[in-house]
Structures are given as structure tokens and as C-alpha cells.
Amino acid sequence: MTIRGKIPFLAGTLIALGVGWVGFPYAINQRRPQPVDFSHKVHADKAGAKCEDCHAFREDGTFAGIPSLDKCSGCHAAAMGTTVAERSFIDQYVTPNREPQWEDYARQPENVFFSHSVHVKRAGMRCESCHGPTGGSDSLRPYREDRISGYSADIWKVKGTNHGMKMADCVDCHRTNQMEQSCLDCHK
């Protein structure tokens, strides 16, 4: 290959690398803001709330996930602070009793059975192990949804961690911790 041939080849390579590493990850996901600018940090620091205060387990041991409006209304029936976000939340959701349509960063596909109870209560894992440092965040990042698969972009990589939430990540963790694994554990 001559110098004259190498230049367009390298140019093509560099442009493709730029598109593949920078443009593609941006383009493949669509972003949607969360309905409320919620601060985990404020709730943890000022209200002294722990993860399980809002993301609780039901009486039968199943995980309730994102809290419903009733849980929020328990404290925010009237404004507790002076922030615009809280005022907006009360006006738009608490007062009209309208459930916020939260976007779930970590929703597993329908063909997966995942038990929070087993991982948190039995294995003693911390929430941050899988969900990253969400509990310390001051605002909710936009929800990124893969345009093709329709799944949350967090399955590829959870912000603040070095892992995702794909099957391979589950298997890796189980192997590392020498836990038994079989298809029917998750795909019941």
C-alpha cells in the first residue's frame, strides 16, 4: 500500500472508530427525563432515610421496588422544604393523587425471575453492589432506552460500577462467589 493509499485507509479507520466509540453509543439510546427531579442524597442526608425505608420488602418477602405515591405522600402531603422540585412534585402528583410514571433503570426482561430477597436478605448484598452509588446521587439521571431492544441502557453498564445487568454479569458474580447456578434459577 502506498502513502496515497494509506491516508484514506487511516482516515476511514479513524472516522469509523470515532463513530463506533462516540457517536454510536449516543445514537443507540434515546433519553427520557424522570418525572420528578428526585434527590436520593437529600433524603439520605437530611431525612436519614435508608434504602429499605422506601424500597421495601412486602410482608411475604417480595420486593416492592419503586415506592408508590402513597409512600411519598406520607411525608410530602405538604411541602417540607423550599425547593422547586418538591413544590412541583406536590402540585403535579401529590395533590391530584397521580402516580408518577418512574422509569426503571434496572427492570429485568419478562423472561427473568430475579429475587431481591435472596440477594439482599440471604446473601447480605448491599444495594450498591448492583445498582451503583444511586443512593448518593443528587438528581436522577435521564433514563436511557436502547432504541432497538427497548431495554434500559443500564443492562450494558451501570453508572458508577464496572458491570452491567446482563445474564453474563449475573453468571460472573455467581461464579466469583462460588454460588450454584442453573438455568431454572432465573428462567423459571
Binding site: 476511514g12 479507520t13 472516522i15 469509523a16 472508530l17 463513530v19 463506533g20 436502547d146 432497538i148 427497548g150
Partner: protein
């Protein structure tokens, strides 16, 4: 500067190389695969409130208690109910996947209901004096069974035929047994109430006579590896040994040494109470139990759950064998609840020769639907309300219902109502009437699954009693002092084992359990853990003699007929035997112990 074609190609080549070094192409491949998971038409589970509901499994006569985890009223997983006095929290593999049954590929939801009713009415009008209208009930002992008996009492020449074993009014008390001899009965895998059997297991010494290394044989204390189809000969040999004789012929027939017969007889006699389990048609099991004093000790009388007095004017339950050949003009078969399957070769001779009307009410065409003129689709567990007769190992009478967890599709009928209507019998809410009769008897306890506690039935109000039963509760009668049942009656046609063996049919059929739920069918078929519906297994030497190889298509022939099969060659199958999965199509041409041969297709 002019751009040449060569430079464009270099640029394209560089781009291709570059893009391969990014995550883009690999992510696109994975994303496309994930996208295919969400194509339209792929069922998506409902989302909603998570609740627990309770019912009783109707997949077999055990009727184990079931706790269903439901999401938005849809059951997503089933489990046993801890603390249940009979099922002890256990649920078998089929029971765990029972909620898949309504979605079975063989499910039938459309049929010829109106045409069937018209044909039955017309045939009833032309019944001759010596002809019968009959109901064949595959699971007798239910409230629906009483309706069938009342319906047959209300029509001209009505006959109620009950399929089932010789122990209809007796129960087996495993907790009292110290030695159990099983003549090929799958005691630890497909018999009685699994939880109850396992709870009693530590208390008895199990001797399993089996030609193949079944799961029960593996878990037994002693496995007697007998020749295929020689269970009856073994029983007769032990009887001889108990009488002090040397069982020479039995030793030859079974492959068991004469001394071992004497040792077995000694163990059964000395380590009592003993119990011998055989098939429904096993004459030697009945004789052995009589000789060993099992009647009244490990086999006891069990009274039936109370029924309203008004129902007692009903046709008696009869055995199919006692019905005269060529006498049934109208035959209605309730196969909505799985039960004992009577081979069509036994049913067909009972029908009149000219245009009999056979209607089957079932959920699949795989059973009698293959032979009946009309198949009326019926609901299936867990979408119907039906009560469950007590299991063979339940010493006390029970009354519990299988209540719906899912809604039945439109167009399916309730067999009880359909048959009553055909017979012109007016029936109300029979289950409620029966429950009230049980409550009025004022005895027994009610075990509620949600609360996990037992209360005396008489302390519960009659409406609350009914509500509890609808929520899956179980009424258990008081246990009576053990009473000796009448001598066990063995149905005609018994001990035909090995009788059909000829030089032309040299293999003995050994039946194995067939998978039934869709999930388990898939797992078993993909894993080859069980024989599939059209498979038989034979020893490599038998396969060589028949000229067939593993996976080859072949024909299984018996005196009763032939069926197309796929051959699996398995060194675990004993010489002289052919292992067959027990499905209706197979049972029509062969039963356990009959002679057969495998012929290359």
C-alpha cells in the same frame, strides 16, 4: 485533488476495519437478538398486585395442597402448603408446573357440543330393552360422580361405570407398615400423596420388585431385580413360601433364587405389620395381604365424606368388566380429570355394534377423543371447580376442592352439568350441597391453608365453612378405629401378565410414566430423561435382533394392535423387555406385562 476509485475503496476498507474495533457491530447483533424477544405475539406476563391463592392440585388423586403466587390474578408459580396434614408441604414436579396445563399444545377448546347433545337425545329415544346408557367416570368418588350415579338412576337402563382399583372403599395406612413389598408399584415416584409417602418412608423397610432400575427401585432398601412381567409370579411364589412350599416355578419365572423367596416370606412375616402393593388387577397382592394380616392393620376401611340423603337414590357403581358385551348404546365419558385410563380395547366390546354414540368430555383429543364420535371440550385444572376424592393413602375421608386459578376459555363445558342435562336431571350447586352435608355431620376438622391451622368443623359457621373450602381449605374426617375391609375384590381380567407372551411376541412391556405438563414435556424431551410419547426403549441386543438402531422409526406390535414408535437403545433396559411410556394411545394396544415385539418400520 481528484479522488480516485482506489482511494474510495481504501477509505471503505479502513472504515470496515475501524468499525470492527468498536462495540457498534457487536452491540447491534445483541440488540437485534434482544429485540426479537419482544416481537408481537410473544406472551407477556401481566403486571400487578402480587397475591397468594390456595387450591388443591387435581392432576392426580393425591390432591396436594397448593399455594399459588399470582401476579395480577395470574398464577406464576405453584408451591406446596407447609403444615398440611396429608401433603406435608410437598408438591411433585407435575404439580409445580400444573398452571401450564391449560396452555398445553394438545388442549381442545372447541368441539361439537350441540351435535353431541342431539345425538345422545336421539339415541336415548331408541334404547332397546337390553341396551344401556352409561357414564364412564375416570375419577370416581367425587361429587360429580354422585351426580352421574343420580343421572343414571334417572334414565332408562342407566349404568354408572367407575374406573379404578380394587381399594375403592379402603385406604392404605403407610404409617403403620414396617415392611412394604412393592410388586412394581412406583411407590416413591407416582403413588398416593408424595408428601405423605415421604413422611412415612423412614418407618418402613421397602422391598421393590422391578424389572428395571426405576426411581423407586433406586431409593428402596432392597431392589429385587425380577424378570419383566413376572410380578404376579413373584407374589405367587411368596405365597407358596409362606405356606412352607418351595416355589420352584416362581423362581424360574422371576429369576429370583428359591432361598430368596423363603427369606422374603420370613421377613414379611416377622417384620410386620407388612403390606404388599400391587397393581389394580394384582391378584397375588390381594392374596398376600390377606395371608399377612394386612387387612385391618395397614389396609383399613375408610368411610366416604357425607352426602345429602336426597342423593342416595342413585345407580350403583359397577366395574366395566361386569357390563355385558354389546350392550351400551350411549356412552358418556368424563375424562376432564386425569384418572385411570381403561384401554379402548376393553371399552369397545361393551358397545352395541350398530351406531353406538360415544361422547367424551375432555380437554385433549389424546384420550378417548381418538375413538369417540363427539368430543365436548371441558375445563381442566386449574380453571375448574371440582372436588377431589381422598387419596389411596388417606386414612380419613376428605372433602377439598380444586378451585380455579385461571379463567376457563369460552366454549368449554362442565361435564357434571352436561351429563345431568343429557339425562334430564335437575341439579343445583352440588358442591355447596355436599359441603353443607359434610358440615351438618358435625365431625372432623377444617384445615385452612392461608392460616395454616386446623379447627373443628363444628366450630365453623356453615357459610364460613363453604367460604373456606372455596379458598382451598381441606376438611378431614375423624380417623376411625382401624377396621378390616372386606376381602379385596380383584377385577376380572386380572393376572394376564405374561399370558400373551408367545414366540412371535417375545418382549414384555414395562410401562413408565409419561410427562404431561408442557414445561416438563419440553425439559424431558430435550434432556431424554424420560421416554417421549412415541418412544420405546429396548436393550442393544434386542435392537440388533429387530434390526433397528437408536432413533429409528419402528412399529410396536401386541395382540391388541400396533403403534408407530421411535426406538431408543438403552443398555439399562433388561433383555426381553420393552420400556414404553404409558399414554392412552399406548395403553390402547398394550398394558404392563403383555407380550410385544418391535418391528422395523
Amino acid at each position: 485533488m481528484k479522488t480516485t476509485r482506489r482511494e474510495i475503496l481504501f477509505f471503505a476498507g479502513g472504515s470496515a476495519v475501524g468499525i470492527l474495533m468498536t462495540p457498534a457491530p457487536w452491540r447491534l447483533i445483541t440488540d437485534t437478538a434482544l429485540w426479537s424477544e419482544n416481537w408481537p405475539g410473544i406472551p407477556r406476563p401481566a403486571r400487578g398486585a402480587i397475591t397468594a391463592r390456595y387450591t388443591n392440585c387435581a392432576l392426580c388423586a393425591a390432591g396436594c395442597a397448593v399455594r399459588a403466587r399470582c401476579v395480577a390474578e395470574q398464577p406464576v408459580s405453584l408451591a406446596g402448603v407447609a403444615g398440611h396434614p396429608l401433603s406435608h408441604g410437598a408438591l411433585c414436579a407435575y404439580g409445580l408446573a400444573g398452571h401450564h396445563l391449560p396452555y398445553h399444545p394438545a388442549r381442545v377448546t372447541r368441539g361439537s357440543e350441540r351435535e353431541a347433545m342431539a345425538a345422545v337425545t336421539a339415541a336415548m329415544d331408541r334404547l332397546a330393552g337390553n341396551e344401556h346408557m352409561a357414564v364412564l367416570d375416570l375419577r370416581p368418588g367425587r361429587t360429580a360422580s354422585w351426580t352421574y350415579r343420580r343421572a343414571m338412576a334417572a334414565v332408562k337402563n342407566g349404568v354408572y361405570v367407575a374406573a379404578g382399583g380394587a381399594l375403592a372403599n379402603a385406604a392404605i395406612d403407610l404409617s403403620k407398615a414396617r415392611t412394604v413389598l412393592s410388586l412394581g408399584v412406583p411407590l416413591l415416584e407416582d403413588w398416593g400423596t408424595p408428601g405423605n409417602v415421604m413422611a412415612a418412608r423412614a418407618g418402613f423397610h421397602l422391598i421393590q420388585a422391578d424389572a428395571v432400575e426405576s426411581r423407586t427401585a433406586v431409593m428402596a432398601d432392597q431392589w429385587l431385580r425380577i424378570k419383566a412381567g413376572s410380578e404376579e409370579a413373584l407374589g405367587q411364589g411368596i405365597l407358596q413360601a409362606l405356606g412352607g412350599q418351595t416355589p420352584v416355578a416362581a423362581a424360574e419365572a422371576t429369576g429370583i433364587a428359591e432361598q430368596q423367596f423363603l427369606a422374603l416370606a420370613g421377613e414379611l412375616r416377622q417384620n410386620g405389620p407388612a403390606l404388599v402393593l400391587g397393581g389394580a388387577r394384582s391378584k397375588s397382592a390381594a392374596q398376600l395381604n390377606d395371608a399377612l394380616g394386612a387387612l385391618g392393620r395397614t389396609i383399613v376401611v375408610r368411610r366416604e365424606a357425607p352426602v345429602p340423603d336426597a342423593w342416595k337414590k342413585a345407580a350403583p357403581a359397577v366395574d366395566l368388566a361386569s357390563v355385558e358385551d354389546g350392550s351400551i348404546r350411549v356412552l358418556l365419558i368424563d375424562e376432564s380429570a386425569p384418572g385411570a385410563y381403561l384401554p379402548w380395547s376393553a371399552v369397545e366390546p361393551k358397545l352395541v355394534r350398530d351406531n353406538p354414540v360415544v361422547v367424551t368430555l375432555g380437554w385433549t383429543r389424546d384420550g378417548y377423543g381418538r375413538h369417540a364420535q363427539y368430543l365436548v371440550p371441558a375445563g381442566v385444572y386449574p380453571e375448574v371447580t371440582d372436588d377431589l376424592p381422598p387419596a389411596v393413602d388417606s386414612v380419613a375421608a376428605t372433602f377439598r376442592m380444586s378451585v380455579p386459578l385461571v379463567q376457563a376459555p369460552e366454549g368449554v363445558v362442565k361435564p357434571e352439568e352436561w351429563i345431568a342435562r343429557a339425562a334430564g336431571l335437575q341439579v343445583g350447586d352440588t358442591l355447596r350441597e355436599r359441603a353443607d352435608a359434610v358440615h351438618r355431620a358435625g365431625r372432623g376438622t377444617l384445615f385452612t391453608y392461608a392460616g395454616g391451622k386446623s379447627v373443628a368443623a363444628k366450630d365453623v359457621k356453615i357459610d364460613d365453612f363453604w367460604k373456606a373450602l372455596q379458598a382451598g381449605a381441606c376438611w378431614m374426617d375423624e380417623v376411625e378405629p382401624a377396621r378390616r375391609p372386606a376381602a379385596v375384590k380383584v377385577a376380572a381380567g386380572a393376572t394376564r401378565q405374561a399370558a400373551d407372551l408367545t414366540d412371535d411376541l417375545p418382549l414384555v412391556v414395562v410401562l413408565t410414566e409419561a410427562p404431561s405438563s408442557p414445561l416438563l414435556s419440553k425439559i424431558y424431551q430435550e434432556s431424554n430423561l424420560k421416554l417421549g410419547p412415541e418412544q420405546v426403549a429396548i436393550h442393544p441386543l434386542e435392537a440388533r435382533a429387530a434390526g433397528v438402531e437408536d432413533g429409528a422409526r419402528a412399529v410396536l406390535e401386541t395382540l391388541a394392535g400396533r403403534i408407530d414408535v421411535e426406538v431408543r437403545v438403552d443398555a439399562g433396559v433388561p433383555l426381553g423387555a420393552v420400556l414404553v411410556a404409558s399414554r392412552p394411545a399406548v395403553l390402547d394396544v398394550c398394558g404392563a406385562g403383555v407380550g410385544a415385539k418391535v418391528v422395523r418400520a
